[in-house]
């Protein structure tokens, strides 16, 4: 895509700054001049929503860290103190706690949007891979944050998840145990473990912010995909500047998203959590039923579907790694599932299997639950490893519009020239 800029420093200071550190120019090119396809639907607003979520989590998290005591004797009580005694402490904590869930709702919609419209396909592979890395870091961060509460679920979730690494014992005897003790800093999950989890929980959001910068950079080189999956050709007819068009649209979506967010924070802050986590951690008693937070349930179901310890761990991590390979597993020349009549069915089957796996993750791993779990785990992997390559070869796609303009204006659009040029940012200063 050819880059053009309309940035003209107007004051003496901005001219002086522009020849030394062109920060304003960079911001202008990123926000004002960035040409965005004009046919993006509301599924494209979740990137902005996610940036907002990260900001809220960092802001409320910094506040929580002012009251939190990372010590096994004090942690649980320090959170209750925050909730009961600190001015608006309950609001800060519930915003952070529900914020994690809202973050995952948005990120899962964002990922399935990418899968549906083929946003992972060339030339956006790096963008997609950075996105999967963001998901991984998000999961690590959310998991560590949950452990800090030091309730029964926190403690046993840390125990179970860190013990996943002991499965390496079946490759090199003793390696897994040594690794787990290295992670714990002891012979069980204890104070040393809690301290390092806190340290890393504070660090990782900033790693996440760095990855987000790379993600946006990798987006701005090839530009946005769009619902037709057809490349943007004519930026004057088919694109609008990001600001004010998409800042406004994203802003509206964000308001709607915040209504849902606020509903959870103010009316049912405990709904998405587990009541067992309001019991302080007890290393001598495992709760009858260990369940992770809802956003990990599909992965937990995959872990438990495999009857071998190492196999379960490999499948669980594999379910995310396989996402990274999607750009190369998908053999179709058509990006958007809109024009893929056969693949569309499989896409929705994938959505359903993720939802079913999520439901199963909260059920005990026995009897029919286990059988259904194995079927849907198998589908999850077959979808990426077999269906994606195979359907791309045998499918006859529906005709795609020749251009974004044609998809909006119909075949007569050619040369109509009725489209105004993208509103220049100069309009702001008029």
């Amino acid at each position: 895509m050819d880059h053009y800029t309309q940035y003209q420093p107007t004051t003496g200071f901005t001219r002086w700054l522009d020849s030394r550190l062109p920060l304003v120019r960079m911001a202008h090119e990123t926000i004002m001049d960035y040409p965005t396809p004009r046919n993006l639907n509301y599924m494209w607003t979740f990137g902005g929503v996610l940036a907002f979520c990260l900001g809220v989590q960092i802001l409320t998290g910094i506040v929580l860290a002012m009251y939190y005591a990372a010590n096994t004797q004090l942690a649980f009580d320090s959170i209750e103190h925050l909730m009961r005694d600190v001015n608006y402490g309950w609001l800060m904590r519930y915003t952070h706690q529900s914020g994690a869930s809202m973050f995952f709702i948005a990120v899962y919609i964002h990922i399935f949007r990418g899968l549906y419209y083929g946003s992972y396909k060339a030339p956006r592979e790096i963008l997609w891979i950075i996105g999967v890395l963001i998901l991984l870091v998000m999961m690590a961060t959310a998991f560590m944050g949950y452990s800090l509460v030091w309730g029964q679920m926190s403690f046993w979730a840390v125990t179970v998840i860190t013990n996943l690494f002991s499965s390496l014992d079946s490759i090199v005897n003793g390696l897994g145990t040594a690794l787990v003790q290295w992670i714990w800093g002891g012979f069980s999950v204890d104070n040393a473990t809690l301290n390092r989890l806190f340290s890393l929980h504070y660090l990782l959001p900033f790693v996440l912010a760095g990855l987000v910068v790379l993600h946006i950079w990798a987006l701005h080189v090839p530009g946005n995909n769009n619902p037709t999956g057809v490349d943007l050709r004519d930026i004057h007819r088919e694109a609008v500047p990001f600001h004010p068009y998409y800042t406004t649209k994203d802003g509206f979506a964000l308001i709607v998203f915040c209504v849902l967010y606020a509903y959870f924070v103010f009316y049912m802050p405990g709904y998405l959590g587990d009541a067992t986590n309001y019991v302080q951690a007890n290393p001598l008693q495992t709760p009858p039923h260990i369940v992770p937070e809802w956003y990990f349930l599909p992965f937990y179901a995959i872990l438990r579907s495999i009857p071998s310890k190492l196999g379960g761990v490999i499948a669980m991590f594999g379910s995310i790694v396989v996402l990274m390979l999607a750009p190369w597993l998908d053999t179709s020349r058509v990006r958007s599932t809109r024009y893929r009549p056969l693949y569309r069915w499989f896409f929705w089957a994938l959505v359903v299997s993720c939802l079913v796996l999520g439901w199963l993750g909260g059920k005990p791993p026995e009897g029919n639950y286990l059988i259904v779990g194995r079927i849907f785990t198998a589908y999850y992997f077959l979808h990426f490893l077999v269906i994606m390559p195979f359907v791309g070869i045998i499918e006859t796609p529906k005709p795609q519009p020749r251009s974004i303009a044609e998809s909006i204006l119909g075949p007569s659009a050619r040369g109509a020239g009725r489209m105004p040029h993208p509103a220049p940012a100069a309009a702001e200063t008029r």
């Binding site: 046993w156 125990t159 179970v160 998840i161 860190t162 013990n163 996943l164 002991s166 499965s167 079946s170 003790q181 290295w182 992670i183 714990w184 800093g185 002891g186 012979f187 069980s188 204890d190 040393a192 390092r196 290393p283 001598l284 008693q285 495992t286 709760p287 009858p288 039923h289 260990i290 438990r304 009857p307 071998s308 310890k309 379960g312 005990p364 791993p365 026995e366």
Partner: protein
């Protein structure tokens, strides 16, 4: 500056290579303390042993004590439980290794998992070898699983009356910690 093949090897080349190699080794060496500090510290290592008086534990009863932050299961087994454990052929076991910390490679017979002459006492690390939950079966009324030993509520692993894995996802028998009888009714774990 690029070095081409026809230039002779000079003292400067040697200095370049030596300096780069030295920096790399130095950086790697500096990493080690950063990694090593994560390991269990001296205070964790020094909590080495726990003593337990067995006299008050009646036949059929079990107690749990802490050793190195881990629960240790001590069960006073009934004659019936011992007999059931001995009757299991090794070929029926999912994990045929005794998993005794002091003697790692012996077969998982009931004899190897207890002390000679004290076979009514089963002393184990009470941590499921699957993902580290605490199995049920220590208290009266706990579910003990299909083999009368222990049952892990997390993912359904079942252990027999010698603490050996019989069913479920756990890969290994419950581990036997290092312990010794100090007197007839007193053990020292660790």
């Amino acid at each position: 500056m690029a070095i081409t093949m026809d230039e002779p090897v000079t003292r400067r080349d040697f200095i370049h290579i030596a300096a780069t190699a030295f920096t790399t080794i130095g950086a790697a060496a500096a990493l080690w303390p950063l990694i090593s500090q994560m390991n269990p510290d001296r205070s964790a290592l020094s909590l080495a042993s726990t003593e337990l008086d067995l006299a008050p534990i009646q036949e059929g009863q079990a107690v749990t004590v802490m050793w190195r932050g881990k629960p240790i299961f001590v069960r006073h087994r009934t004659a019936d439980e011992i007999q059931k454990a001995k009757a299991v052929p090794l070929s029926d076991l999912k994990d045929p290794i005794a998993r005794v910390v002091d003697a790692p490679d012996e077969p998982a017979t009931d004899e190897n998992r207890t002390k000679a002459g004290k076979e009514q006492w089963l002393v184990m690390i009470g941590i499921c070898t699957h993902l580290g939950c605490i199995p049920k079966g220590q208290k009266n009324g706990d579910e003990k699983g299909a083999y009368g030993g222990w049952f892990c509520p997390c993912h359904g692993s079942m252990y027999d009356t010698a603490g050996r894995i019989r069913q479920g996802p756990a890969p290994q028998n419950l581990a036997i910690p290092p312990y010794a009888f100090e007197t007839d009714t007193k053990i020292k774990i660790g």
